[in-house]
């Protein structure tokens, strides 16, 4: 048998085995691998490389070596899933670089990080001033996780005490001009509703590249024809505006009327309406 046939045969066999081995070793990203997993991956590749281009090599030896280099990391991974102390041993522990806003010089030295390295890692996290950091820790994977001081953290709705309407994921209901029935059913809507909404925007279904519906059944579309401007959904802002207008009208009536009873009635209802507005306001934004 000529050498090249052997090479082809071995390559195909080893590629298949390597494919499955790496698949079983898990879905971790390359950046999340610890040094041990990283090296065992390289060794696996190296074994395959040697045996594919070397026709005289004993393929059995190669397979045994691959099995060992697969089984040991696999076992290590399995045991470290079960045991915390073993995990600390194999994956290493994280190292605190900044605590209570103070840089731990000893820890930096221990991990072989210079001040420049630390500053670079901080800049990676969009921190340019080391004193902005409350706490920073070097993860076993080599990334630096940074907790900025409270005043340097981005403002959230929680900080402002704002109440926000809960939001569920929007569903794509039309893709490439074709209606997707399952997402529609998830929203408990049907094709009739979809046609009505599209009619309201006066677009035809064939012209829709993508249409998404949010949790309140508002439809947003993108068309193939980009020259057509699509109206933003106005239902909810319009409703809020109408409610506000009615409330103002009622207040006006109560000021205008001279009938005491009617005045009271208008005032009472204007207050009720205000309560209703407060209730739905943040759902309508």
């Amino acid at each position: 048998m000529p050498d090249w046939v052997i090479v082809i045969g071995k390559s195909l066999l080893l590629i298949t085995i390597l494919f499955f081995l790496t698949k079983w070793l898990g879905k971790k990203q390359l950046s999340q691998l610890n040094i041990f997993e990283y090296i065992s991956g390289i060794v696996l590749g190296g074994i395959v490389a040697i045996h594919t281009i070397e026709p005289d090599s004993n393929i059995l030896n190669g397979l045994v070596a691959m099995a060992v280099w697969f089984l040991v990391p696999y076992a290590v991974e399995y045991i470290s899933l079960k045991s915390k102390s073993f995990r600390n041993f194999t994956e290493g522990k994280s190292t605190v670089f900044i605590q209570d806003g103070k840089i731990m010089e000893d820890n930096l030295k221990k991990e072989g990080y210079s001040t420049d390295d630390l500053l670079e890692k901080l800049r990676d996290n969009n921190v340019f001033l080391a004193s902005d950091v409350e706490f920073a820790v070097l993860e076993p994977s080599g990334t630096l996780s940074v907790l900025p001081k409270k005043e340097n953290q981005p403002l959230t709705a929680k900080d402002l005490g704002l109440k926000l309407a809960p939001q569920k994921e929007p569903q794509a209901v039309i893709m490439d001009g074709k209606v997707l029935l399952e997402p529609l059913a998830n929203l408990s809507l049907n094709t009739n509703w979809l046609e009505t909404e599209l009619d309201k925007m006066s677009v035809s279904i064939e012209n829709v590249f993508l249409a998404q519906a949010d949790n309140d059944g508002q439809l947003t579309v993108d068309l193939y024809d980009d020259k057509i401007a699509v109206a933003e959904p106005t239902e909810k802002p319009l409703l809020l505006a109408t409610m506000k207008k009615c409330q103002a009208d009622l207040e006006l009536f109560s000021l205008a009327t001279k009938n005491e009873e009617a005045k009271k009635m208008y005032e009472k209802n204007s207050k009720k309406l205000q309560a209703a507005i407060d209730l739905v306001q943040f759902h309508l934004k």
Binding site: K168, T242, C246
Partner: protein, 66 residues
């Protein structure tokens, strides 16, 4: 516009608001939003009933404007 017709306009706006809220409540699949819309709808219905009485009363008071 007379007071009567102004109140009538407001009354129909309130009716439209009620219907919109009802529709939104039926369309949403988020429990909190559903409850808020339902509660608001109940309030609006009370307001609507009061206004309806007022509309009837005003049309009796000013029959010449009907």
């Amino acid at each position: 516009m007379t007071v009567g017709s102004q109140v009538k306009t407001c009354f129909s706006s309130i009716k439209s608001v009620e219907a919109s809220l009802q529709m939104l409540a039926e369309k949403t699949y988020e429990q909190n939003s559903y409850q808020a819309f339902k509660d608001a709808e109940a309030i609006i219905t009370e307001v609507k009933n009061d206004l309806q009485k007022q509309v009837i009363m005003l049309s009796k008071e000013e029959p010449q404007y009907n």
